[in-house]
């Protein structure tokens, strides 16, 4: 007896779908969690800020999706290795802190020669870092080719109005809640 047509077609449909489903299982499986809301302590030391800044750059800030640290060749976005040395002198009249702040609050105000404008304002959604978080990122950026000087009280052009740091509650010394998956991935 021959296999009925409908069963053959059903088997073909099932096999094809199963095959593609199988291909889907073969690729790396990564679940991306939404960025956790993290409260920063107001008395972070500069050294702590560097650590937090690095974590923000990898996670919530999405910086390292585009920027590289220590890579050369045909890049789409400026490499950040040793960036502090360049930041001090790149725009006349701007200190490195001011320059970093400008490139995050108003990224299109100055475009590094040879690159296309493409960076969104970091203090607005979808990234939406707070002023404190941006200060932490600046602290980390300063360690690339320099020494960090900023504290959470540092004033620059873009945060001159606000001083109040968010309340510190239930925060670990690193400034982040320990269970918060900042990198936002798990296997």
């Amino acid at each position: 007896m021959t296999v009925p047509l409908i069963a053959r077609i059903g088997a073909l449909v099932l096999a094809t779908t199963a095959f593609y489903g199988y291909v889907g299982q073969m690729v790396p499986q990564k679940e991306v969690q939404p960025p956790a809301e993290v409260v920063l302590k107001s008395d972070l030391t500069t050294a702590d800020m560097v650590k937090v800044g690095r974590e923000i750059m990898e996670g919530k800030g999405l910086c390292l999706t585009c920027h590289t640290i220590g890579k050369s060749g045909a890049l789409r976005f400026p490499d950040l290795a040793g960036v502090d040395g360049r930041a001090k002198s790149r725009v006349a009249g701007l200190s490195d802190v001011e320059y970093f702040a400008q490139s995050m609050y108003e990224p299109w105000a100055f475009i590094v020669p040879g690159f296309n404008p493409g960076m969104p304002p970091i203090n607005k959604p979808p990234v939406g870092l707070t002023d404190q978080e941006i200060l932490c990122v600046i602290a980390y950026l300063q360690t690339l080719g320099g020494t960090p000087t900023v504290t959470l009280q540092t004033k620059h052009h873009y945060n001159s109005g606000t001083t109040a740091a968010p309340p510190s509650q239930g925060v670990s010394p690193g400034g982040t809640q320990p269970e918060a998956p900042l990198k936002g991935e798990k296997r």
Binding site: G70, G82, G85
Partner: protein, 270 residues
């Protein structure tokens, strides 16, 4: 590419052509030939995940070819049907019936029987250097600095050779155990190291001399975060060597491998 393997496959194909074999054998030959080329034909072996993708595509393509016309289908199915129906093949058929699931089982066994490997961390092999470092209480500018003896190459070749020879001495007294006689990362301690030491033939032409100096003087402990996880065994040589000795060793590395250091870029205008 590994020439002998490529040649062997080409010769085998020539032989098949000469023998005028049937389509079924051709199909098998193509599959096996491509597999051998992918698996063994490259000097830098292709990871098995990619080979699986490629062989999947090749399998589909071969199936498509052999079934794309009535003649080819007959040519393929004829021998198979004869094999399955004719009396004289009964024994072989029985063997095949047993062998196919056995092969599948063997495959499962091989796949399950992998050796234990450490988890994989992605690390940047050449992380960015800091702008300056301090060695023996002396500040060394890595961005703008130069090898203090490099200029001798043109101005005073004799003196330059002396520095290179000194570098050779430093290398063979300290570095050779890991980086090897020929500087291709094949020293006697290599089997115990992960990551393996740098192969100087490959990479140093892309690097500046100050970068080498930084890596030699600060070693594994001086690696920044993105160079981590910190598990390279490179010692911080500033604790054992003079500054000049390290610069000489750098000269010797370029001299021995015949590479030129990367020139200084206009960092400020980048």
């Amino acid at each position: 590419m590994k020439i002998p393997i490529v040649l062997a496959v080409a010769v085998a194909f020539g032989l098949l052509r000469f023998l005028r074999v049937k389509l079924l054998i051709w199909a098998a030959a193509w599959w096996i030939g491509i597999y051998i080329l992918l698996r063994f034909g490259f000097t830098a072996p292709i990871p098995s995940s990619v080979i699986t993708i490629y062989m999947g595509i090749v399998s589909i393509a071969i199936l498509a070819y052999v079934s794309s016309s009535q003649e080819r289908r007959d040519e393929i199915s004829g021998p198979l049907i004869r094999f399955m129906t004719e009396k004289r093949y009964t024994l072989l058929l029985a063997v095949a019936v047993v062998a196919i699931p056995a092969l599948a089982a063997a495959n499962v066994y091989v796949r399950m029987n992998v050796s234990i490997e450490p988890p994989l961390f992605s690390r940047t092999v050449h992380p960015a250097s800091p702008a300056d470092i301090t060695v023996h209480d002396k500040r060394i500018d890595l961005d703008a600095g130069e090898n203090p003896f490099r200029h001798l190459e043109t101005s005073n070749p004799q003196e330059f050779r002396k520095h290179v020879e000194n570098g050779r001495r430093v290398y063979y007294q300290n570095c050779v155990f890991c980086h090897g006689d020929t500087m291709s990362a094949n020293g006697m301690f290599v089997h115990g190291l992960d990551p393996i030491p740098t192969n100087f033939h490959d990479t140093i032409a892309q690097l500046r001399e100050t970068f080498l100096f930084w890596r030699i003087s600060k070693g594994g402990p001086g690696l920044p975060d993105e160079g981590g996880p910190w598990d390279t065994a490179m010692p911080a040589w500033e604790k054992f060597l003079q500054e000049d000795e390290m610069w000489d060793a750098v000269l010797f590395l370029y001299d021995f491998t015949g590479q030129r250091p990367r020139g200084r870029e206009e960092v400020a205008t980048k």
